[in-house]
Symmetry: C2
Subunit: 317 residues, 2 copies
Amino acid sequence: MKSRDVLISSSGMTPSAWRDRLAALLPGRSVHLAGDAFDKNSIGYAVTWYHQPGSLADLSNLAAIFSLGAGVDHVFADPNLPDVPIARVVDLDLTQRMTEWIVLQVLLHHRHQRRYESRQRDKIWIEDRDQPAAKDVRVGIMGLGELGADAASKLANLGFQVAGWSTRRRELPRILSFAGDTERDEFLARTDILIVLLPHTPVTQGIINLELIKRLARDGALGGPFLINAGRGALQNEVDILAALDAGILQGASLDVFQTEPLPASSRLWSHPAVYVSPHIAAISDHDAISRLIARQITRLEEGGRLEHVVSREQRY
Amino acid sequence: MKSRDVLISSSGMTPSAWRDRLAALLPGRSVHLAGDAFDKNSIGYAVTWYHQPGSLADLSNLAAIFSLGAGVDHVFADPNLPDVPIARVVDLDLTQRMTEWIVLQVLLHHRHQRRYESRQRDKIWIEDRDQPAAKDVRVGIMGLGELGADAASKLANLGFQVAGWSTRRRELPRILSFAGDTERDEFLARTDILIVLLPHTPVTQGIINLELIKRLARDGALGGPFLINAGRGALQNEVDILAALDAGILQGASLDVFQTEPLPASSRLWSHPAVYVSPHIAAISDHDAISRLIARQITRLEEGGRLEHVVSREQRY
């Protein structure tokens, strides 16, 4: 295949930095930014992060679209998307960073960190004896892709009872496996700490609502349940989460993603005493590693190889 | 060996609860508390936690002393200790709880949790990009016994570069090994996050001082160094730790143990913004499991078996 040019079409994420990295990794071709003047017929590859909808429609020689992240919901948000393969980022570095954040959030709730910090502020020394061991706490992960499987393995290694739920059944060592709509309620009923790592699709939109939260275990050793969302803000109904927290149906939450980002100052999530808010930094990725991954994909494709990590148009992930 | 009685000699830790558990597990013998009236010649085993010094001296048939914890410094604090074997607690449950706490503290520092919580209070959304991955951060563990080895393995599993230092060399998979006085400075110089799990002995008394802290890495990806002490308060010089924090030689600390416990309200550690204080709860142990361990040791000994987890009088651990 002939060597073609690259278009960086990204809102935020410093497009020029991506252009410079990819230009260095892919010598002998041009790498353009969306606002540049360039020949649309020269573009073979679009590298995107929340690109302008419609802006890829008239690239007649486009061969592939690359998402700059693990999620591709932002790509499918374009109703005039050309019919070419779409690849997402699957990167060990990104996976490990996500697992770091998830393990931290699980332990923050499991070890009552907010309680101890509040006592530290008040200089109060109390040796509580109500700390269950990890082996008595049931973690449930919705979404068992690369990210979910890695977090599951590391949490099991720390001693937690870990289960996973996914659309198609996935068997992993030491992880209790649930699959499909029919097993969802059983999975939720045995979960003290719920971790959501689902992709954002029309099916998962708003899935974290009061009805789901009410089905989580309330008799667990930890006095939960707790919610951790590291997937996408569009998965969650924040009004429902706050209602569940206020009603004591949910004991605490860690949210890295929100329905609107940045999270508006008016949101009560910022100040709720049982909520950890972080600004979408769970898995800030290694831009050099992602650039190398995309450059490798382009080179492999032009050498007659197969594109990897291609998403399904039907399932939208 | 004839079945002998048991004496619980403990300050704090609710002695009567230990008596009830051990009496249930060891039927056919008496279990006494230190204040009870009993025949001193009947006592074969002393179960201790900061016992009254001298109170074991005239137990003429004493066969063994059991510490209620992993540490035995409180036993050796008695200058009139009878010359019988001393066994400590080595318990998987205690080990796993300690590892939970250590992994939480490492991740709190590694992922800048205090920074994000401060911003949450101020409702400030900033997507920092200065987060190094675990693979770029060097953790060092002083003390590679049961506790240190387990924490090392779990931290390596999360991707950290882990090294251990111990008096006698201990080789563990994926863990860089340092040993003895001659390799101590090299170990400290490559350590961004120092975890201290040493026993308290005359040799380790006050070992965490300004001289040691100054030798830690200051050029690391995390902008450390950081200190985590989950061993014993007597290992640390709190005046030196505060001086190092104030001078920016130390970036942060997690302390579960203190020179005086409870930590006095007058200590500046309570309110220092870079210090996590917890009230000696890193590894609150499962009293049922420890009772079963001690009962098993006594039964095994009387059946002609060998006492396990016996400490060295010379090394005092």
